[in-house]
């Protein structure tokens, strides 16, 4: 048997310390509960999720099913998803009504590309990636960042009080896009040939950067606090409001 010439007691102590070293982080893992469930989904499925505190990540995939995974910090929240006529509804506020302290719940959800996504959380970050549908709505009641990437939707709404908002996607004709924050940076990355009417307001900082979209059709009004105008034939509508932050447009 392999031996370093150590005594029996010393060997046992060494093995025990190795075991405790690897087991210690496991206490945290054991304290986190996991919820996992998969639902079959039609093409026009809708995901409606209301979280208390925690993050929500939604990603589109090429499967006709919705996979929900949630990691719950202690004290663990109750999660009771419902499937109501093609809408997957998860409402942690309602499912934990009357409970005092409830730990963070961090969701990781995979949905078909064409899913209409409507997610909100009281505190935490929201991320939506690779969605091509009619609606993407991301609402944070207080603080958190919103990141919407590779989005092609007819209606997009992203709002928070404190935090950044980043949108990277397409502007569909006659679509409606709304971004609102009280403090943080709003960055919008869209194709140069996008057709939209714009009203962007940054009353406190007056920092509105149009980048490649500046030009004769865009006008600064109200002492530079607001920009109104249109790009191309002004088909879609983009409304951006950042009370005490900045707004920037980036060419995709």
């Amino acid at each position: 048997m392999f031996s370093l010439g150590l005594g029996k007691k010393t060997t046992i102590l060494l093995w025990l310390s190795v075991v405790f070293f690897f087991a210690a982080p496991g206490t945290e893992i054991l304290a986190q509960k996991k919820f996992s469930k998969t639902y079959p989904a039609s093409k026009n499925v809708r995901l409606q999720l209301t979280n208390r505190t925690g993050t929500v990540n939604v990603e589109g995939w090429n499967r006709d099913e919705i996979s929900i995974s949630a990691y719950m910090e202690a004290p663990a929240a109750n999660i009771v998803p419902q499937n109501l006529s093609g809408t997957i509804v998860i409402n942690l506020i309602k499912d934990n009504e009357g409970r005092g302290e409830v730990g963070n719940v961090n969701f990781s959800i995979k949905v078909p590309y064409t899913t209409m996504v409507d997610i909100e959380t009281r505190i935490g970050n929201l991320t939506v990636n690779s969605i091509n549908s009619g609606l993407v709505r991301a609402h944070i009641s207080s603080e958190g960042d919103i990141t919407l990437t590779n989005i092609s939707a007819a209606a997009v709404s992203a709002e928070n009080v404190m935090g950044d908002i980043f949108f990277d996607g397409e502007i569909r004709r006659e679509g409606n896009y709304r971004f609102a924050s009280n403090k943080g940076a709003i960055n919008i990355r869209i194709p140069f040939e996008s057709s939209f009417k714009l009203m962007a307001t940054a009353p406190s900082t007056r920092s509105i950067s149009l980048g490649a979209f500046s030009g004769g059709n865009m006008t600064f009004i109200g002492d530079g606090r607001r920009v109104v105008g249109k790009s191309s034939d002004g088909s879609a509508t983009i409304t951006v409001t950042n009370q005490r932050g900045t707004i920037a447009f980036i060419r995709r």
């Binding site: 208390r52 505190t53 506020i93 009504e97 005092g100 302290e101 009281r122 505190i123 009641s141 207080s142 603080e143 009080v161 404190m162 609102a180 009280n182 403090k183 009203m199 307001t201 009353p203 406190s204 009004i221 109200g222 606090r225 607001r226 109104v228 409001t241 009370q243 005490r244």
Partner: protein, 245 residues
């Protein structure tokens, strides 16, 4: 023949409509009775006067009493008409004054049309003030038309500033309500949640204070009014959403 019988027949006696016997008796009585003789004299005088009027007038008097009464009526009416004409002349100034209020159909129709137009304009201005979002292009309250300004000064329509103040009061009432709900739930939150809520609320309150100060200095700044309205709505939403935690 007594006086009663005599006076009964005097008229016929004077008209020679009595037979000889009665006529002789009346003559005998008149010879001895002064009263009946006096009556006979009076009747005779009336007859003489009638005969005189007859000869003086060109027309022939009707033989019967009914025709006589008709003639008397005509004379009376002809005398009354001038008097009535004088009375009418005195009343004409009053009627002229009353005539002012007697309007023709065209005048009434024109008046109703004018009233309808004014009512419609007031309604349009009122609806416009209520529904049109203010400050969409950042212009200030000078964009109000002269007509709207006049109506605003008369108190018939709400000015944009008055509308804004009214809405702020309504929003503040709602905020107070949700604030109470939050205070009732706050004790159940953990420390992180409480701190995050206070941080965000403070951020919004700072924004509200900024716009309030701007509007005190320049009440006509509709963009700031719009932003204040939006911020107050955000505050209401924050309180409402945290009230159910």
């Amino acid at each position: 023949m007594n006086c009663e019988h005599c006076q009964e027949y005097i008229s016929a006696f004077l008209d020679n409509d009595l037979d000889e016997k009665i006529s002789a008796g009346i003559q005998a009585h008149l010879a001895v009775c002064a009263d009946c003789a006096k009556v006979c004299e009076d009747f005779a005088a009336i007859l003489d006067m009638c005969h005189t009027e007859e000869t003086a007038a060109a027309e022939v008097l009707p033989p019967n009493s009914q025709a006589l009464w008709c003639r008397i009526n005509n004379i009376i009416e002809s005398e009354i008409q001038p008097l009535q004409a004088e009375v009418k002349k005195e009343e004409e100034p009053k009627r002229g004054f009353a005539r002012m209020w007697q309007l023709s159909f065209g005048q009434v129709a024109a008046g109703m049309i004018i009233i309808g137009i004014v009512s419609s304009l007031l309604t349009i201005v009122g609806i416009r003030n209520y529904s049109t979002p203010s400050g969409v292009d950042g212009t200030d309250a000078a964009s109000q038309t002269l007509f709207e300004k006049v109506l605003g000064k008369m108190g018939l329509v709400e000015t944009p500033i008055q509308a804004r103040e009214r809405k702020i009061k309504e929003q503040q009432a709602a905020i107070d309500y949700w604030n109470k709900r939050v205070e009732a739930r706050r004790a159940q939150w953990d420390k992180n949640l409480r701190e995050a809520f206070d941080r965000n609320l403070h951020e919004i309150d700072q924004t509200v204070a900024e716009y309030t100060q701007i509007l005190q200095e320049n009440p006509q700044d509709e963009l700031s009014g719009e932003m204040l309205d939006s911020t107050l709505n955000d505050k209401m939403e924050l309180l409402r959403e945290f009230s159910d935690l």
